[in-house]
Amino acid sequence: MANISREQLLHVARLARLELREEEVERLGVQLNDILAAVGKVSELDLSEVPPTSHPLDVVNVWGADEPAESLPVEEALANAPEREGFYFKVPPGGA
């Protein structure tokens, strides 16, 4: 597996919505490449005939009755908001 370049690292950080500081970029770059080299070991096995496991139990399509129930009151839903205005979460404008 290829090494992550600085450019790729910054791209992944942007995808993950992390604004890494310069010293973090350097430290993480080295560590991530070490970790990826170790986990890349999974590619050694030929598993073309093996199905993937996404869930350890054999459970499919659990249906619930479509019954209306009480919702969380607005005041409680907003209780932990860093910033609010009226009945809304407030965020700065623009961007993604």
């Binding site: 604004e19 970790i35 350890p56």
Partner: protein, 469 residues
């Protein structure tokens, strides 16, 4: 005078039921023990001094959402977060009258094997305060061993109940995936996370499991237990087939003192009447860890996307929304969550998905199959829980890959959704050694039976020597 170091949960329940001690007196006795010993050990992030139940106390790992009680998962990004609802496991504990003593320390978002990744400082091992208690649930495990609570709840993704129980010398169960609700639990890797009990002996562990286990309509990954939990009273292992997987018992990095204690426990299995034989899990050691460190970070990168400074938790103010997200997350997350978010985002990104995450899911199938094959011949598999006894604080903090190896032996069965029980099986250099018992899915009663018979035969004293007085 209540001796919180030795009182079992079962005994404590008896004292309360017979009216010999009130629930409030019991709660206060543990709060006093916390006041005496926790300034040094730092097992608790928050202590509830007022009694709040009609039965015995319990401590909850801070990953477990508790209505009206701050819940941080050991992270700055959740500092000040007070859930407006109870997790199902917290509600079940309250329903049984258990009195919450407080929230225990943990590696941030349950990512780590030493509790040193907590944003609020590490927990120390009650057997030797220069050493770690294991992780991520080091606070719960250390609190049980130090007599600061009769029992506790933890959560286990790659070994976060089993490994700290091993390093602190107590009993911890990672239940079968799907038997305990995760509703209201702060998610790390959803195809692996399980909540489970930590206790001073196997019967207490089984009793607490019986309180929290069972289907929950609020968590559609849960199932009904095929049979009720049985409190074990077995004293022998007649008729049981115990398998010793070569790879898990001979892996590089297992300390000689750990091997010696585990071998003595295996010999005891024979003496107790079990049929003991070797078996093989050929891919588990070589590919288990790489498989886990793709799947868990990939799922974590998705689960941790919710911490964006909008609805709860920390926000770093900025003039634009994107900058607000990015700065909030950079300031709020510690190093380990950042590493895992980055690994996971990379492994899931276009062009890499098949080679990393997709391939790891197939390896997971291979691991599950080889465990199934072993269970055609054996009822339970045994190995060390941790390759080492408790290591020194700071020994692995600069080397993430070295820290990851702490979970080398707990990860393979976790990937297969299997239950695992840690019991103490002796000391090496004065520190506890943990024995891991692995069974097929839903075999908790068998694990309890084997664990109980072994703990009676081993006679391990769970009170740390330096606290025994």
């Amino acid at each position: 005078m209540i001796d919180t170091l030795r009182l079992t949960a079962e005994e404590a329940v008896g004292l309360v039921e017979r009216g010999e001690v009130s629930a409030a007196e019991l709660h206060e006795a543990y709060v006093a023990a916390i006041a005496e010993r926790d300034p040094e050990l730092h097992c608790f992030l928050r202590v509830l001094e007022e009694p709040n139940g009609t039965s015995i106390p319990i401590a909850l790992k801070d990953v477990i959402g508790t209505k009206g009680i701050e819940t941080t998962a050991g992270s700055r990004i959740l500092e000040g977060y007070v859930p407006v609802y109870d997790s199902t496991v917290a509600a079940r504990c309250r329903g049984r009258g258990l009195s919450f003593l407080g929230k225990t320390n943990m590696d941030e978002f349950a990512m780590g094997s030493s509790t040193e990744n907590s944003a609020y400082g590490p927990t120390l091992n009650p057997w030797d305060t220069e050493r770690v208690p294991g992780g991520s649930g080091g606070g719960s495990a250390a609190a049980v061993s130090a007599g600061l609570t009769p029992w506790a709840l933890g959560s286990d993704t790659g070994g976060s109940i089993k490994q700290p129980s091993a390093l602190c010398g107590n009993v911890g169960l990672r239940p079968t995936y799907g038997t305990v609700s995760r509703y209201g639990i702060i998610a790390f890797a959803s195809s692996l996370d399980q909540v489970g009990p930590v206790a001073r002996n196997v019967r207490d562990c089984a009793l607490l499991y019986s309180i929290i286990a069972g289907r929950d309509p609020a968590d559609t990954t849960t199932v009904e237990l095929p049979q009720a939990v049985a409190l074990p009273d077995a004293e022998d292992l007649k008729g049981l087939r115990v398998g010793v997987p070569t790879e898990l018992n001979e892996a590089d990095g297992i300390e000689p003192g750990v091997t010696e204690a585990v071998q003595r426990a295996i010999a005891l299995c024979r003496e107790l009447g079990a049929e003991v034989g070797e078996c093989s899990l050929p891919r588990s050691i070589e590919y288990g860890l790489p498989c886990y460190y793709l799947i868990a970070p990939a799922e974590a990168s998705s689960n941790l996307a919710r911490y964006d400074g909008v609805r709860f938790g920390h926000r770093t103010h900025a003039s634009g929304r994107l900058e607000m997200y990015e700065r909030t997350r950079d300031d709020g997350f510690g190093d380990e969550p950042k590493r895992r978010i980055m690994i996971g985002t990379y492994a899931l990104s276009a062009g890499y998905y098949d080679a990393y995450y997709g391939q790891a899911q197939k390896v997971r199938t291979v691991l599950a199959r080889e465990h199934s094959e072993a269970f055609e011949r054996f009822d339970v598999l045994v190995s060390p829980t941790s390759p080492t006894v408790a290591f020194k604080l700071g020994a692995k903090t600069d080397n993430p890959l070295a820290m990851y190896l702490s979970d080398l032996l707990t990860i393979p069965s976790n990937m297969a959704g299997l239950p695992g029980l840690n019991i103490p099986c002796g000391l090496s250099e004065g520190l506890p050694v943990g024995l891991q018992l692995i069974g097929p899915q839903f075999s908790e009663n068998v694990l309890f039976r084997v664990g109980r018979a072994l703990e009676l035969a081993i006679g391990f004293d769970p009170v740390p020597a330096r606290l025994a007085g």
